[in-house]
């Protein structure tokens, strides 16, 4: 067989790529028939509710479950943290109560008797000096890059200090800034958890996961079985955002209880537990000095940043700071603060939203100091960037975004816009970068003699529209309608496909499904060629047919062609390995966002007027799905820019707002107008498919912070920009 050359059709030859069919599972989701892990009820199942630790730091002195165990409906109590265990975060699960109903399990939890010895608590991640005094810090990393190098006899650190001070002294403009962004949680609407059952020695786990193919070993390691003994099922997952890659100790506990009771077990975290231990994103605060020349081009960056990832005491890494903009002389030091909170896990574009939010306000403050447009400062500083997209593309995207927001018509110098009553408006910019490499993926594809087409792949749909993408790619290859392709995903028994993390899913399934379908088509062409007495190379696919190139009269309809297959379906398994160079996928994107806000200087309330998002992503498979991803990312960005934050009580360490009524997220009325522009000129399309999920969630923090500063003339240093913080900053500026 001649080797198949994998490729995408050009824009004008595409039947399906670039069109916007509806999600294949759209109706199932919209009418409630899609079954999520939480919805899976197995016959005779027990339901678990767990006791979360009420203290942020304590030692368990004693635990007595006998009252709970004697309650009607309670079947089993599994102690997860026995006496003498030190607990370092509120919400850590201490004991799991399995009962005949959720209500009975809850009652069981309230009957558990635990004695705690309270230990000292520390949760303040904002005050670096105090954390140092209390020995609550850890050095996370530091990097220095200078154009000049020290002489042989120079002390390196001394040279660096002198050089940085010299560069700052020689700068025309020096900005000293303090910026930051609080801890937020993943807050998946479907909490973490699983419904599990044992079938003999085999564990069947319905798991809320973004990693269908590779969580089996997490169960296996903990339960002393092999990954071959574990089947994971997840047809639908109610949000992950980076927090659902492993089973979690609660799901392991579910398997243990199921083993001991011989019954299926459902164990989902409660809402407060989801917020406390289901996943959070580290905070980041920075003190920075930048020095710029007379044109506003930054020549030196000197920063120290800190934050917390919880009790493991890390913070945002030094690598992405400064963000996108990258002066050739730079020094950055990162310090982690050890606080009594659950350790952070990956959150959509790990490190990038924080790095963006603590970098780009400094560039905006530079524009304010110079009294010039921040658009000009951004454009001028594109000569010094470290990013996965070119300066030329950023420049085009900046200009496009500026046009879409009417920058020239609406921009005014910082704090000098018209005031209507107590309301002022402003514009602000953020730019970002991301990789988006295609993950490894394998697709098994069957073409049946009756014309049916079916794919099998152990990937998942975290909201991206994975099924639809799989079907579109195969439909494109075969010239079939999207609905003609039956897509099977969501089970670890299917061919392995990578986790949905790092914006890798669409690339991965586009790779494996295009490869499998092109390989299958080669087989089909051989059969058709024989029948038409031509060479397979002479054949092409047109809608619903395989024909001799340009000759519709010499063709077979799809069904007719499949009739040549014989008794057994064509069955092809094709793979892509992450990192292998491929004409189908690529990595590295940019992206620009500009926010337009209104600030009420009497109340401190910030309202989104409009946000423009210009995003490149290589070849776009489904523009409607792509736009949804960007709308969603922008709204998640509005959430962390204006609303959400974890609030710890400084004395007890308690997570005070761990319910949705208190953990503020934007509602439908809070988002203003969002304009999405998909940037896909030919030279970008030719790069192949690149992941999209993460990049557009990065810029809103900087864009919105800068817009508020442009409106008021005052920097509100720390996100989210709550009314209280806005008023405090305005008051401080007034003196």
């Amino acid at each position: 067989m001649a080797e198949v050359k994998y490729s995408w059709p050009s824009r004008d030859k595409s039947y399906v790529l670039g069109t916007s069919p509806n999600r294949l599972d759209g109706m199932a989701k919209a009418t409630g028939t899609a079954k999520y892990t939480y919805d899976v009820n197995l016959p005779n199942q027990l339901v678990v509710v767990a006791l979360g630790c009420p203290h942020a730091h304590c030692r368990i002195k004693a635990i007595n479950a006998s009252d709970a165990e004697s309650l009607p409906g309670v079947v089993k109590v599994l102690v997860l943290r026995p006496a003498e265990t030190e607990i370092r975060t509120q919400g850590e699960l201490i004991a799991a109560v399995a009962a005949e109903s959720e209500a009975a399990a809850r009652e069981g939890v309230s009957a558990l008797k635990v004695d705690y010895e309270a230990l000292d608590v520390f949760v303040d991640d904002q005050d670096l000096e105090r954390a140092k005094e209390l020995e609550r810090t850890k050095r996370v990393g530091g990097k220095v890059e200078l154009i000049n190098e020290p002489g042989d006899d120079d002390d390196e650190e001394e040279f660096e200090n002198h050089e940085i001070e010299r560069l700052l002294k020689e700068s025309k403009y020096v900005i000293e800034g303090h910026y930051g962004i609080d801890v937020i949680t993943h807050c998946c609407l479907e909490p973490h958890g699983a419904t599990v059952q044992w079938i003999g020695s085999q564990l069947d786990a319905y798991l809320s996961t973004q990693n269908v193919s590779a969580t089996d070993d997490g169960f296996a390691d903990a339960l002393e079985i092999t990954a071959a003994d574990v089947d994971i099922h997840c047809e639908y997952v109610g949000g992950g955002f980076g927090s659902k890659f492993s089973p979690g100790y609660w799901s392991i506990a579910a398997a243990q209880i199921a083993k001991e009771t011989g019954r299926p077990v459902k164990f989902m975290l409660s809402r407060d537990q989801e917020l406390k231990i289901g996943g959070n994103r580290p905070s980041a605060f920075v003190k920075v000095r930048i020095g710029a020349d007379e044109n506003g081009v930054v020549q030196v960056w000197d920063s120290q940043h800190w934050g917390t990832t919880g009790y493991n005491g890390s913070t945002v890494t030094v690598n992405p700071v400064p963000y996108v903009f990258y002066p050739k002389n730079n020094r950055r030091i990162a310090t982690g603060i050890i606080t009594n909170n659950q350790p952070s896990v990956a959150w959509r574009a790990p490190n990038h939203p924080q790095a963006c939010a603590i970098t780009q306000p400094a560039y905006d403050d530079l524009a304010a100091r110079m009294g010039i447009s921040s658009l000009d400062v951004y454009l001028r500083n594109l000569r010094n960037i470290a990013a996965r997209q070119t300066a030329e593309v950023y420049a085009e995207e900046l200009k496009l975004a500026a046009k879409l927001i009417d920058w020239d018509g609406k921009w005014h110098p910082h704090g000098r816009g018209p005031k209507r009553g107590s309301v002022v408006e402003g514009l602000g910019i953020g730019i970002h970068t991301w990789g988006g490499v295609a993950n490894s993926s394998t697709c098994r594809l069957k073409v049946y003699p009756d014309g049916g087409v079916e794919t099998f792949c152990g990937t998942q749909d975290i909201g991206t529209g994975t099924r639809t993408v799989c079907a579109m790619v195969v439909a494109e290859t075969f010239g079939l309608p999207v609905e003609a392709v039956k897509v099977n995903i969501g089970h670890s028994t299917l061919p392995e496909s990578g986790a949905s993390g790092g914006s890798t899913t669409v690339g991965s399934v586009a790779e494996s499904h295009r490869r499998a379908s092109q390989d299958a088509l080669a087989e089909m062409k051989k059969l058709v060629a024989k029948k038409l007495d031509v060479s397979p190379d002479e054949l092409e696919v047109v809608t619903g047919r395989i024909q001799v190139s340009g000759k519709p009269d010499q063709s077979l309809g799809w069904k007719e062609a499949c009739g040549l297959i014989g008794i057994n379906p064509i069955q092809i398994t094709s793979s892509h390995k992450r990192g292998d160079k491929s004409p189908l996928s690529n990595e590295g994107v940019g992206g620009v966002q500009i926010a337009h806000v209104a600030v009420d200087t009497d109340t401190g309330v910030v309202k989104m007027k409009k946000l423009v998002a210009v995003q490149d992503m290589g070849l776009i498979i489904n523009p409607k799905l792509a736009k949804s991803q960007i709308y969603g990312a922008v709204i998640m960005g509005i959430a962390y820019s204006l609303f959400e934050q974890r609030i710890n009580d400084p004395a007890s360490g308690a997570f005070l707002n761990a319910e949705l009524g208190d953990y503020r997220l934007p509602r439908l009325g809070d988002i203003g107008e969002i304009v999405v522009e998909l940037y896909e000129p030919d030279d970008q399309r030719e790069r192949g498919v690149i992941g999209l999920g993460e990049p557009p969630v990065i810029s809103p923090g900087a864009a919105i912070s800068n817009a508020v500063c442009n409106a008021t003339g005052v920097r509100v240093p720390v996100l989210p920009l709550t009314p209280k913080r806005v008023l405090e900053s305005l008051q401080k500026a007034r003196g």
């Binding site: 599972d25 109706m27 009418t31 919805d39 939890v109 309230s110 909201g463 709308y631 439908l668």
Partner: protein, 198 residues
Amino acid sequence: MKKTPSEHYSRRAFLKGSSAAAATSLATNAADSVAQQSATDRVIRGETAIKLDVNGSLREVKVEPRTTLLDVLRYQLDLTGAKPVSLDGSSGASTVLIDGKPIMASTTLALSARGKKIETVESLVGDEVPRAFVEQDAEQCGFCTPGFVVAVRAFLNQNPNATEQQIRLGLNGNICRCGTYANVIQAAVSIAKGGGNG
């Protein structure tokens, strides 16, 4: 220093039955045997069979005074469209129609729903609202979507000529974490009479 665990579900204490008086008044008619139990019991126990009018048919279910409508729908009737997202009902994910009004099934006791017309998202299969959600791609992970679909149905029933501005102001009871709000607005606008212009 010793401490005992604080009350975890204080917001929902009434559902647990620790507020026995409230539960008893609901229970007396339907569940006499239940009401006979000792007043010192923390929780009034005992199941009783009742009939609920769900999606046009009378369904017999077994409930305790503390059983929520959401638990009945999800665990007994396999109607899992309404979702358990927040104990305090602030997410809107468990929205169902009770006598035509949008109500959170998570904060409604099953006993209190007797004699009322309960409509869940599953009854909207042929409705224009889910179709509009699909057309406008007003769903990502989809976990909040059923609650949103019911909320939009109820809102447009009340405000068939809603403007886009009214839609933006009137659908703030539901939370979506994936950020489908822009698409939900488009979906509601697309089926409002007057196309969102009133």
